[in-house]
């Protein structure tokens, strides 16, 4: 038995707006690079870099949007795969991948928490955070190798919370029949948040935000992104949450602030990890972007933060069947 997909993919206009908008933005980007290239305004290296980035977006955007349009299970499965890919990069960057037992438990934990999401079993979904933490802590004890215990358990729990328990909130939202416009709005807002901070920071400049953690981020960029993202989320949120308890200006502004803050903090969190290890990128999986985590870092904290904010006012799939499989 599956949750009835009563709402057709484009029933909510916001879904259509965002899909068309993203496609248009990609086409416009290609046109801009092409025209600027013809006019000789771009160096060969920069042009190559821009095409590479745009090309990656042309692959990434459908990979994010299509599962959301396809349905609930596809969305949660895609989030599970993303979590596993992120954890792989994190484990290889920190050295945790050499600890097979801990790594294996974290992978099981990421799968379990996404299975709980697909099952719409909220109790187990929440219980997996402390349970996973406990399993990771005890998994390597039978091997009687106390050297490095705190480090491997600490890194394992950190990884499980970020890419399992935390990120899976994004997939869990798909249990709501009205999830499509919401998830697309969050992805768009997180993306715009990054771009906004970059563009506004570059054009205004001014004092750095946390120069030792991330040398290129400025206070002006952070504040600019806060304003842009909050505005975007408030306007789109008004259409997404029309007729619900969340459809009040003050609450929607609150959601926008949470998305922008959590997005920027997630970015800085990854920067801190990279600085501490002494690496520039988390991987080389996406041409022009670095690793998968370098692209999706902002989503890690947005998922649980926005989930619980929205759940407080609206809830997720409260009228849907729960514990479908187990």
């Amino acid at each position: 038995m599956t949750i009835p997909q009563t709402i057709a993919p484009f029933q909510n206009p916001v879904t259509l707006w965002i899909v068309v908008g993203v496609a248009a933005a990609l086409a416009l980007g290609a046109l801009l690079i092409f025209i600027l290239g013809l006019a000789g305004r771009l160096s060969a290296a920069l042009r190559h870099e821009l095409w590479l980035r745009l090309g990656s977006w042309c692959v990434l955007a459908p990979l994010m949007i299509v599962p959301i349009l396809l349905g609930r299970s596809f969305t949660i499965a895609a989030v599970a795969l993303l979590g596993l890919a992120c954890y792989r990069e994190y484990a290889r960057a920190t050295g945790l991948f050499r600890e097979h037992v801990v790594s294996f438990i974290v992978v099981l934990g990421i799968l379990a928490v996404n299975l709980a999401a697909i099952d719409h079993w909220y109790g187990f979904f929440m219980a997996l955070a402390p349970l996973g933490c406990g399993f990771i802590a005890v998994a390597s004890i039978p091997f009687d190798r106390p050297q490095g215990y705190v480090q491997r358990v600490g890194l394992g729990i950190f990884g499980f919370f970020l890419f399992g328990a935390g990120l899976a909130h994004f997939g869990y939202m798909a249990n709501d029949p009205n999830y499509r416009p919401l998830l697309l709005m969050l992805l768009l807002a997180v993306g715009l948040n990054d771009v906004g901070a970059f563009v506004i920071g570059k054009s205004i400049g001014g004092p750095k935000l946390v120069p030792h953690t991330s040398p290129n981020k400025t206070i002006s960029g952070a504040l600019g992104a806060l304003v842009c993202t909050t505005t975007t989320v408030s306007l789109l949120g008004h259409a997404v949450f029309a007729g619900t308890a969340l459809d009040r200006a003050i609450l929607l502004i609150g959601l926008g602030l949470i998305v922008s803050l959590a997005g920027q903090l997630g970015d800085l969190m990854l920067s801190s990890i990279k600085r501490d290890i002494g690496i520039k990128d988390m991987g080389r999986a996406i041409p022009g972007h670095g690793g998968i985590l370098d692209r999706f870092n902002s989503l890690l904290l947005v998922a649980p933060a926005s989930f619980h904010y929205i759940a407080y006012f609206v809830g997720f799939g409260l009228d849907q069947p729960t514990r479908i499989w187990f």
Binding site: R88, A91, R92, A93, T94, G95, F97, R98, H100, S103, F104, V107, Q147, G148, Q151, R152, I277, I279, G283, R284, A285
Partner: protein
């Protein structure tokens, strides 16, 4: 091993570059692939070639290097298959890059199933040898090497090349000489499919080259010692066969 807060050696490589890199370090996925491959190969060698081993007790703790005669593609499989399962991810057969890493598909197979490291057959670069040497000790690896450089075309063992010396001279890492009998009869270089002939593997006592000079003369001496030890195992094997009733 105490905790090491260090990224994978291959961290800065693209997924494609990783496959044929000597910096490759496997994770859970490759471990699972090695394990599956090992199960299949062990079953095949036992059922089809009735592989038997003597001298398993001679194996030291990692790191160590196994050197053997080379008559067949079965050699790599047999030598890797007899090692204990707990060494699974440490075992790296050193394979010719032109044979095992020539295409994407063969590289995926060589990296994920066999766990092989590529080496240039004719001209191994000094920096590659230095990396192999360093990883052997630092990561406590196990290399499987065929110092003849290629598979025998007539079943006779060829002289060992000096490259093995560049890897091992003046190193504390023990070397286990191995002789595999029957591989030429089962799957010689000119055949595509194996025949059900028995394989018998002998492992000799570990050798140490800690005192060997790390220069050209020393390398040749190392190669010669390895070769004569493998030949001695061959003689012992022939002697065993003659005393069989």
């Amino acid at each position: 091993m105490d905790w090491q807060f260090k990224p994978a050696r291959d961290h800065a490589l693209t997924p494609r570059e990783r496959l044929a890199s000597l910096k490759r370090e496997g994770g859970l996925v490759s471990l699972a692939c090695h394990w599956l491959w090992r199960q299949v190969i062990r079953f095949y060698l036992r059922a089809f070639h009735r592989l038997s081993v003597t001298g398993l007790g001679n194996l030291p703790e990692p790191p160590f290097v196994m050197v053997a005669n080379h008559a067949s593609h079965l050699d790599i499989l047999a030598l890797a298959a007899v090692l204990p399962a707990r060494y699974l991810e440490r075992v790296h057969p050193i394979a010719a890059d032109d044979a095992f890493f020539s295409s994407f598909a063969s590289s995926v197979f060589a990296a994920f199933a066999v766990n092989a490291f590529p080496l240039k057959r004719k001209a191994a670069r000094p920096k590659d040898l230095a990396l192999l040497r360093a990883r052997l000790v630092e990561d406590r690896l196990i290399y499987i090497l065929f110092p003849e450089g290629t598979r025998s075309r007539d079943g006779q063992m060829a002289p060992f090349k000096a490259g093995i010396g560049a890897l091992l001279a003046a190193s504390e890492v023990p070397v286990v000489p191995c002789f595999l009998a029957g591989a030429f009869a089962a799957l010689p270089a000119h055949r595509h499919l194996p025949l059900p002939r028995p394989l018998r593997l002998s492992l000799g006592k570990p050798l140490s080259f800690a005192q060997s000079a790390n220069d050209r003369a020393g390398w040749f001496a190392v190669a010669q010692t390895c070769e004569s030890e493998v030949r001695r195992l061959e003689q012992d094997r022939i002697g065993l066969n003659q005393t069989d009733p």
